[in-house]
Symmetry: C2
Subunit: 387 residues, 2 copies
């Protein structure tokens, strides 16, 4: 079959033709330079204008103009002079004003409740709200998302920078939910619907991907690559490689919940119609059902078996990418303990020692805000160029 053969462009093997993706550098790119200044302030905290020039590679006058603009917008404020200076004029420090804007962030990943928050520019939660889903699907479910966002917007009097949403299912780069089974959303332009309603910038992405962004931007994880495994209603993975989110060719990266564990055709029937999917072994609903009423020992063994199953599926991914940082996000009572320990042991037993030695596999220990923080990260990146 010619489809299965790696074809060469020409018999002499010339380079394949493709569009040039690199463009010449635009000169004096103000938007870019503004983002460079904000990025430095966001990650380094308070700095003098001289510090900013050094960090950014911009000239002192350019930095001064940009800082003046940001001050006029209220995003940056002077916070006094540096105390530790010994000679010369003490430098005036500037800092991002965390409450210059608030953001509305929504986590739609839970089976029971839509969860939301108002967060400031530092990713600090200012206020919270949530709304029961009550089995709502299609337009009813959308109406509840809108109602929750309305409630949240009533909780702040600050300017709103945008709305960031982590949605279950497959979400494309236009914020269209291609498929979210339990909400019966198919090709739903959620980003556009919310933007039309609220007249604000709206960003929508897959919940596991958004959780990975939340960890990457707001939590202390070394390196530029990490994997967040979300174990909730569904099971998914968010992957950041070299600082960038992996979306996948059909926007389906991270869909490991329906990878088969064990032999083909065996295991429990899954909502996807096949048998033995990872989700049926480690999904929070399945696990909770299975340990209900068991004594401590039997409970531990069920959780250990589930952790092993995750380890078997994760080992090839961790090996292929040589990932060091893996974070398990989900119910603390299920994941902290035998589940996590068995996952670590299994991954180490089934990979090259260099891979296992570098591995840090942690749970969030009940930190349930990763999708919310990731929603903030989406908005910060889109609106201020900060990542």
């Amino acid at each position: 079959m010619s489809d299965d053969v790696l074809t060469t462009v020409s018999s002499t093997g010339g380079p394949r033709r493709r569009r040039v993706s690199v463009k010449a550098l635009p000169q004096h790119n103000r938007v870019h330079n503004r983002a460079v200044v904000l990025q430095a302030l966001f990650h380094q905290g308070a700095m003098s204008r001289a510090d900013l020039a050094r960090e950014s590679g911009l000239t002192r006058p350019t930095v001064s103009v940009l800082v003046a603009e940001l001050e006029a917008d209220g995003i940056v404020a002077e916070i006094g002079q540096r105390e530790d200076v010994r000679v010369g004029k003490p430098a005036t420090l500037v800092e991002i004003n965390p409450d210059a804007f608030h953001m509305i962030v929504l986590d739609l990943s839970s089976a029971d409740r839509f969860v939301g928050a108002v967060v400031n520019l530092r990713g600090e939660v200012v206020d919270r709200a949530d709304l029961a889903i009550d089995g709502a699907v299609r337009e009813d479910a959308i109406a509840r998302v809108i109602r929750l966002a309305e409630r949240l917007s009533a909780l702040t009097t600050q300017r709103i920078l945008g709305i960031g949403v982590g949605s279950p299912g497959i979400v494309d780069d236009q914020g269209v939910v291609r498929e979210a089974l339990h909400l019966e959303w198919f090709d739903l332009p959620l980003r556009q619907r919310l933007a039309d309603y609220f007249h604000l910038p709206v960003l929508v992405a897959n919940d596991a991907n958004v959780a990975a962004l939340g960890v990457h931007t707001f939590r202390e994880v070394p390196g530029l690559s990490l994997m967040v495994v979300t174990i909730e209603h569904g099971v998914g993975v968010g992957l950041i490689i070299g600082g960038s989110l992996v979306e996948g060719e059909q926007f389906s990266a991270g869909e490991i919940g329906h990878v088969t564990v064990g032999a083909d055709g065996e295991g429990a029937l899954c909502t996807c119609g096949r048998r033995g999917c990872l989700e049926t072994v480690i999904g929070a609903r399945y696990l909770s059902d299975r340990i209900a009423g068991l004594d401590e020992g039997a409970r531990g063994e069920v959780l250990r078996d589930a952790g092993r199953a995750l380890g078997v599926v994760a080992a090839p991914v961790i090996s292929a990418l040589n990932l060091n940082e893996v974070v398990l996000s989900g119910p603390s009572d299920l994941l902290d303990g035998p589940f996590r320990d068995a996952a670590v042991d299994t991954i180490k037993a089934r990979t090259l020692s260099v891979v296992g030695e570098g591995l840090s596999l942690r749970t969030t220990q009940g930190d349930g805000d990763l999708v919310l923080l990731g929603g903030a990260s989406l908005v910060l990146q889109a609106e201020l160029g900060v990542s």
Copy 2:
């Protein structure tokens, strides 16, 4: 254990601090602009200066100056006028002169022979040479690498742009071979050794990674992500995600040859000391030994079982990354047929339908030059900014 807990920077959850990686855009960056022009010519072929200005976003005068410089260097040449122009002055076309420079490329991945070639700027093989390894290890093996490179450099009278090497084992970003077991290379600064000897730019990377670059740069594969599985002496994977090679935190990305297949502690003993590694099931040596003397039917079943094992290990990786393009590189008699078919069937059976539907898994059908072409890609990228 605090090590296993995802820590927050501060109790209020501020953004984590890290070095600013984005710098301000340098103005009038000549090196960058030169690379933009070469990149356009490399991928689009012959163009007029006006075409180049349009493609690159550079001004006409800038393009003219850069083209004049590249002509003076002999890298670019005028090849006549466009024939299809109907009105106005016919445009003069310029093109990369493929023989302006040659490159020396080495593929050290085989267990028996070091293989090399002289290639031109289009990645066309100008001449070839190889050298038996004869079980040489350590300095003896290095001496053979140098001898092969010397032979190749004697085969061309063109200027040599650089030396590109695909090495087995774990290779870091300084071209140090951290570990290549069968050659007994440990922390060998191969790049530096060759650079000191030849006084040329030298690039060294892992063979599977280099093969992936070779496919990405010189073969017709759609999209910006792909996985090359090399099934030779060892088993490895080269991954390109969003146009960039994945190196991994310990430069060990792609080391799936030592991921366990089947139950822990079962299967054949591997060179790494553990049992049941993928390499012992699908490695070319093991497979050849196992099918020797078998009749057609028994042979097919062994190859199908091996293909299934690859499918089980590859399914989580392909799902996590939502990869469409997978290329199997290795002996045609082993991989073309039942092995490939079983791998495809297994991956499709064990992943979500959206993942399986997008999948194209091809063999190279005997195209043994991927590592050599990838070596050329390393040099082109480093020396001319072309990728």
